[in-house]
Symmetry: C2
Subunit: 439 residues, 2 copies
């Protein structure tokens, strides 16, 4: 498990002045990675690190050759057009790179003259997916979401008997994962209203959001060799925001018996900045389940997981309709929640995924599932917030929403705060609904 070290010291200051700006997501204690380039110049993609409102271009820094050893090896990998090679290296390399960057970006660093020419303003940048995602798995780790949505799909049987034993997950679609900001068409699909004799092909009328986080896998495991929970976090590179857009009407008709398919695979949006697992060390929290719940099976249990398996990440969902955007209104927060409300930890997801021998690979993405919390305002999907579309949300524009309308923009945010630690953030994960294709 990554521990707090000098790179997390809240007193650290960077010679990049904007890293000290109040409320910045990217102080020197964060140092998330993305795949970046200058917008509109056809440049090659390469890794970058956020600092304040700037980006350290890691390909340029690699050419400047500032370090030796593990940090240099990690920098070479991070200069590539995808971060898979860096993800494959593992925690010792990631830590060396973080420490080297932290030193180079501190006030008074002797490397300032080397690093400063490698800065690229975030305002001039565009982003690609951080990794080639070989496989994408979506879990279902919020018992609150599972219960809320179970009530809507199966009123007599909301939480299935396996839920408190099995970290439920399923395989998702890789090809349609896009980086924020992503605009996507409202999907058409088979929809059957309850009293109709037959389904029709029509644009979804119940298009929803799902606020999740996405975990990027670091080093993988060979086929047939499970990752024990004690070592699971050595295989976790970092975390992004993830919006698992869902067409509830398509889902309701198609999902039995093999799970969601077209209801989910038309688009999935992730935020560009991968906040490393090490950066999250100051925000780890104990992870205990309710006393009257069954203890996890041994392969899902461990002292470290109980002591600090959770991560305290504040999350929010904001909505801005086309009308709100047209008159310059700010987005409206419709939900706030936290990663710590999950029933299963990231380490448990990794241990479960591999217990049967399934091989993970660097760059694989693990979604947490919709991160609804215990309170009604902590529901991380519209179907929960509006009780299945029966109680519309009131927006400051006077509009109402049950599900998403064309032109709606959804903004996910995440941030961490803790006593004795800096505030760090995840940037934004933005998606916009385009009209369906004409039928």
């Amino acid at each position: 498990m990554m521990t707090v070290n000098e790179t997390h010291d809240p007193a650290l200051r960077s010679w990049v002045a904007s890293a000290q700006a109040p409320g910045t997501d990217f102080p020197i204690q964060n140092l998330p990675l993305a795949i970046v380039r200058r917008r509109g110049r056809g440049e090659p993609w390469r890794g970058g690190v956020a600092i304040g409102d700037q980006i350290v271009d890691l390909a340029a820094l690699h050419r400047a050759h500032p370090w030796e050893g593990l940090a240099a090896e990690a920098l070479a990998a991070a200069a590539q057009p995808k971060l898979n090679a860096l993800m494959a290296l593992g925690p010792a390399h990631w830590s060396a790179l973080r420490r080297a960057l932290s030193h180079a970006l501190r006030e008074g660093s002797a490397l300032r003259a080397t690093v400063e020419p490698c800065l690229l303003p975030q305002a001039d940048a565009e982003y690609d997916l951080p990794a080639h995602i070989g496989d994408y798995t979506d879990f279902y780790t919020s018992v609150h979401h599972a219960t809320n949505i179970g009530k809507l799909f199966r009123p007599d049987n909301p939480l299935l008997p396996n839920y408190k034993w099995v970290p439920i997950g399923y395989h998702g679609r890789c090809s349609s994962i896009g980086v924020s900001p992503q605009a996507f068409r409202r999907p058409r699909g088979q929809i059957k209203v309850p009293d109709a004799a037959a389904p029709v092909l029509a644009p979804s009328r119940r298009l929803d959001i799902e606020l999740e986080m996405g975990v990027f896998v670091g080093p993988g495991n060979p086929l047939g060799e499970p990752i024990p929970i004690e070592r699971a976090e050595d295989h976790v590179f970092g975390v992004v925001l993830l919006n698992d857009w869902s067409a509830r009407d398509i889902q309701a008709w198609e999902y039995q018996p093999l799970g969601p398919f077209l209801a989910k695979n038309f688009a999935t949006t992730i935020s560009p900045w991968v906040v490393t697992w090490e950066a999250l060390a100051p925000y780890r929290v104990p992870f205990e389940r309710p006393a009257d719940d069954p203890p996890p099976l041994p392969y899902l249990d461990g002292g470290a997981n109980r002591r600090a398996g959770g991560v305290d990440i504040h999350l929010s969902v904001e909505l801005r309709t086309a009308a709100m955007a047209a008159c310059g209104m700010a987005a409206h927060t419709v939900a706030t929640t936290n990663l710590r409300y999950t029933y299963w930890t990231v380490a448990q997801m990794v241990a479960h995924h591999t217990v049967g021998g399934c091989n993970l690979q660097p760059g694989d993405l693990l979604g947490t599932g919709t991160l609804s919390g215990p309170e009604p305002h902590q529901a991380a999907a519209l179907i929960e917030l509006t009780q299945g579309g029966k109680q519309p949300l009131e927006l400051p524009s006077g509009e109402r929403r049950t599900f998403l309308e064309d032109g709606d923009e959804v903004i996910l945010r995440g941030w961490c705060q803790a006593p004795g630690a800096a505030r760090i953030g995840f940037g934004t994960c933005i998606g916009t609904v385009l009209p369906a294709l004409a039928g």
Copy 2:
């Protein structure tokens, strides 16, 4: 839709004598592609075409530069370490390569002296996966399998109401797909017997086979732009045998509500030779559903699909236990079936997969689902053949089997025969069960 042409002429003979051997899978009318190299020499992987008991090394042939135009472009793509570039080119290129190879391999060909040095005996070859598989989707197209297995999992409700409307499918795991021959460990997983209070982690005791076919996607579609059924087959490169190994006890406990996960993702085996869609043209058959079933929705319907949407591919499952192998006994056929028994065609799978905007990419793999036919001996999984493990199979060795035991070898075969056409085959898809890891 690919039509029958001179390359399918059953009278064609090759100067490779073994292409005329009785019962060969690889006469000159077949010409399937694989990724190959000489075994044990650390050579680079490259494309190859089977002819009799030989392989035309397409990298060597590319260096010999025998053609111009589309055939030359296709050959350059096929000489790569994966077939994705060839798959991306589309039917005109594939046809040009097939025609050029057919001419070059015919008796009397002027190119014999160019091609003969490029031959590599299959006996000396090893195989890799034919493509980088970006996404793997598994369908559920046999109504017989869906009904048989539905009776076991949901006796009161075997065939769900969506089955005859929706080509049910779900996303599978790419990382654990291997090429035949694949040996894999019996998975461990959570198993809960009906009268137990809690599940246990244990090796699967109900390890099963699923005989399927796998369809490799050719050119993809952009996100948000569906492929209409009339053009669906232009996006189909070719077909392999596929064994979707399944742990039924893990599946029964984990699969609700999001579908199979660890029950399937420990291994999936495909045959190395991709039989092209064009090679299958002589074996196309009409595709009509029972008169009292609902007609497909328009996006899944079309004249060409009804006239010849099916493919008549004979399929078999053979089993050889370790004891049978030790005393030199041949494998025992436990099931024979046919691709034509599906309820949905390959074109319908493609049209449905993309109707909501999901993008397919070259090299994506679409499994048909377990290809059980209407008769009991046509059941393509042990759970069906043994009625949920209640009626063991009797083997010629005197052994009995409900589910797979350690050391069991499973061999899938497929072949096509039709009046006025040659017999072509798929080779074999072989997998062997290794013991589970110690607990």
